[in-house]
């Protein structure tokens, strides 16, 4: 190679500085933006989350308020009416209670009428769908985080240690995989319901937390397998060996070097696990084994809709709207998950 002048080298250097490499995340963003369905889904979910979070602040009827005079009213356009009180809310948490107070000072006694109709006890369906969404989304999120925590640590440890530890840990996962958990969970929920008071007094576990834990503990298996595979392939990369040579502790290698590198695949599985967990919650609540009244979730609403089907009166709103809410959310979550997967790992496209 011929020797280059100082100027030429400097020019090359400044040129190289101008060219920016595309990071994994930037590439992914670019690909994600091209995916129309995933983008729409993302916006829908963001809006839905905001709406659910701020539901207590907005002028909707109290979700558990029974008005026998308004049984099974078809949807009608009665936008604004008067008359609700804080006593009509049940079991408000600290935050929701404050939000309801704020609502009273913002909107006074005004509330939105039952524009989506009412149910068998005259409760406003719109408000029940929104409050139910709070529960369903929360279950989906928290239970998925539980499964994430268990699955990622289990998979990372198993993959990192390798050898007989890995073998044993994965054998355990195999055995657990072959157990049809849903049946065991139904069984478990029955037994736990029986001991509710005992558990609450002795361990301070309330029904919801128990529910989160049970669902989360079922859905970690796939996550553990995926993370283990990824860690196994990362373990022998040079940068990990370099860290080992420099004397980094096991914990530090896991946290600093391995976890960030499995993050993308974890995010993808996270978004795909949330709808599955929500589906499971709806399934259990539908059977009467999940969320219990007066709490409301989309599963409970769907069950109520089916129970109300009869050939004499067609309460279509009661079947359709909860189904649509659950359906749209789950479809959006699936599209988002697929879109993220295609964006973060284009090799997996069309799988």
């Amino acid at each position: 190679m011929k020797p280059r002048s100082q100027e030429e080298l400097e020019r090359l250097l400044s040129e190289a500085a101008k060219v920016r490499g595309n990071s994994l995340w930037k590439d992914a963003m670019r690909r994600f933006k091209k995916n129309f369905a995933a983008k729409i889904s993302l916006w829908f979910l963001v809006l839905l989350s905001l709406l659910s979070f701020f539901t207590p602040l907005l002028p909707f009827a109290p979700p558990a308020r029974v008005r026998l005079s308004e049984q099974f009213q078809a949807p009608k356009l009665e936008l604004i009416r008067e008359g609700w009180s804080k006593a009509e809310y049940h079991d408000l948490g600290w935050l929701s209670s404050k939000m309801v107070d704020l609502r009273a000072s913002l909107f006074g006694t005004k509330e939105i009428g039952p524009i989506l109709g009412t149910d068998s006890k005259g409760r406003c369906l719109l408000s029940r769908i929104l409050w139910g969404g709070r529960v369903s989304l929360l279950v989906g999120l928290v239970a998925t985080l539980v499964s994430l925590l268990v699955g990622v640590s289990y998979g990372a440890l198993s993959g990192y240690f390798g050898g007989w530890v890995d073998n044993l840990m994965m054998r355990i996962v195999d055995v657990l995989y072959s157990i049809p958990f849903i049946f065991l969970v139904i069984f478990l929920m029955t037994v736990l319901r029986e001991n509710q008071d005992l558990l609450e007094q002795r361990f301070g576990l309330d029904r919801m937390m128990l529910f989160f834990a049970v669902i989360g503990l079922v859905y970690w298996l796939t996550m553990a397998r995926v993370v283990r595979g990824q860690v196994l392939s990362l373990k022998h990369k040079e940068f990990v060996e370099a860290a080992e040579v420099m004397g980094a502790s096991t914990w530090r290698i896991l946290r600093q070097h391995l976890v960030p590198n499995v993050l993308s695949i974890v995010i993808v599985y996270l978004t795909l696990t949330i709808p599955r967990v929500m589906l499971f919650e709806a399934f259990l609540s539908f059977l009467g084994l999940g969320v219990q009244p007066p709490d409301v979730s989309w599963g409970i609403l769907a069950a109520g809709g089916i129970d109300a089907i009869n050939p004499i009166h067609v309460y279509w709103w009661f079947v359709l709207f909860p189904g649509l809410a659950l359906g749209f959310t789950l479809v959006a979550l699936n599209f988002l998950g697929d879109g993220l997967r295609d964006a973060l790992d284009p090799k997996l496209k069309d799988r």
């Binding site: 369905a37 055995v175 072959s178 157990i179 049809p180 849903i182 049946f183 065991l184 139904i186 069984f187 478990l188 929920m189 029955t190 037994v191 029986e194 001991n195 005992l198 709808p275 589906l279 709806a282 399934f283 539908f286 059977l287 009467g288 084994l289 769907a302 069950a303 809709g305 089916i306 089907i309 050939p311 067609v314 279509w316 079947v319 359709l320 189904g323 659950l326 359906g327 789950l330 479809v331 979550l333 699936n334 599209f335 697929d338 069309d350 799988r351």
Partner: protein, 309 residues
């Protein structure tokens, strides 16, 4: 021992181990409840309760009960039902299983008959309108819970246009709607898997060879591509059967079908522990057996894969 028998033997041992774990966990969960299964009988005199406890053998020490129940299960006897008097769990299962089985088998057929053509069409018309539409439907089918699909279909085809009977157990027409609702999500999965598998195969050299020697497109697809493209579907059948069993819990409740799923959910709600445990064990064994069957089919279809226990 020939390798095939050894494989079967090994898997059988694994199944026994799994069943034993399930049995032990559910047994001790059941017995962990204070007061026992008859605590909810209102105002039962102590003598009556003592007699009941004696009849069902729960007055003995815990470990003895565990062993006795275990031995009984090994003999294929699930014991008497706690809540349905005069019925043994075996009788309830014998009555419910055929109904659930016919529902499940029909659902599986529907899943395959809808899913396979949709997947093949999607792969052939990749990226075109047909493909996009079918895959959109498939995503919706995977995402929507079967009870939402069921409630909307009931609204249309039972109430508005009464084509199908509303529910219950009777002729074939009673089965169509529930089986469709049960099979729809799996049709969606099958469609996706078929499409992926076909796309992979259609890019292979031997397909190009088949086209180059002038075979018609339908022959290329049906004769050459389909066999390889179906492999992912075959390996999905195991989980699909497990999922159909689960889904039938809800579907049987909606359509008032007195099958095993209904009995199981009822037993869980009524705290009929022996029946619940019998169902859990039966479901586990069924899923295990189906997975084994699928694994064997897989090796027959794809000789590159060996049988491993």
């Amino acid at each position: 021992m020939p390798p095939f028998l050894r494989f079967l033997f090994k898997r059988f041992l694994w199944m026994l181990a799994t069943l034993w774990v399930v049995f032990t966990v559910s047994f001790f969960l059941m017995r962990a409840i204070p007061g026992g299964p008859f605590a909810s009988e209102r105002n039962a005199p102590p003598e009556v309760e003592a007699n009941l406890r004696k009849k069902y053998g729960i007055d003995r020490p815990l470990f003895e009960q565990y062993l006795r129940t275990g031995v009984m299960l090994l003999q294929g006897d699930f014991g008497p039902s706690f809540k349905m008097e005069d019925y043994s769990v075996n009788e309830v299962i014998a009555e419910g299983l055929p109904k659930s089985a016919s529902l499940g088998i029909l659902a599986l057929w529907i899943a395959l008959l809808l899913g396979l053509p949709a997947g093949i069409l999607g792969a052939i018309h990749r990226g075109k309108l047909t493909d996009n539409l079918l895959m959109f439907l498939a995503t919706a089918g995977i995402a929507l819970p079967n009870f939402v699909i069921a409630s909307i279909l009931i609204l249309f085809f039972v109430i508005l246009i009464p084509v199908f009977p509303p529910g219950g157990w009777g002729g074939f027409s009673h089965l169509i709607l529930p089986a469709f609702c049960l099979g729809a999500p799996f049709a969606a999965y099958v469609a996706r898997l078929t499409r992926t598998g076909m796309l992979e195969i259609l890019g292979q050299d031997y397909i190009r060879t088949a086209r180059a020697k002038g075979l018609s497109e339908s022959k290329v697809i049906l004769r050459h591509a389909l066999k390889g493209g179906l492999l992912p579907v075959v390996s999905f059948l195991g989980p699909a059967i497990a999922g159909i069993l689960t889904g039938s819990l809800v579907i049987e409740r909606i359509f008032f079908i007195p099958g095993l799923g209904t009995h199981f959910v009822q037993s869980a709600i009524n705290r009929d522990y022996t029946l619940a445990m019998g169902c859990v064990l039966l479901f586990t064994a069924l899923v295990y057996a189906m997975n084994l069957l699928v694994d064997i089919c897989y090796t027959v279809l794809d000789p590159r894969v060996g049988l491993e226990g």
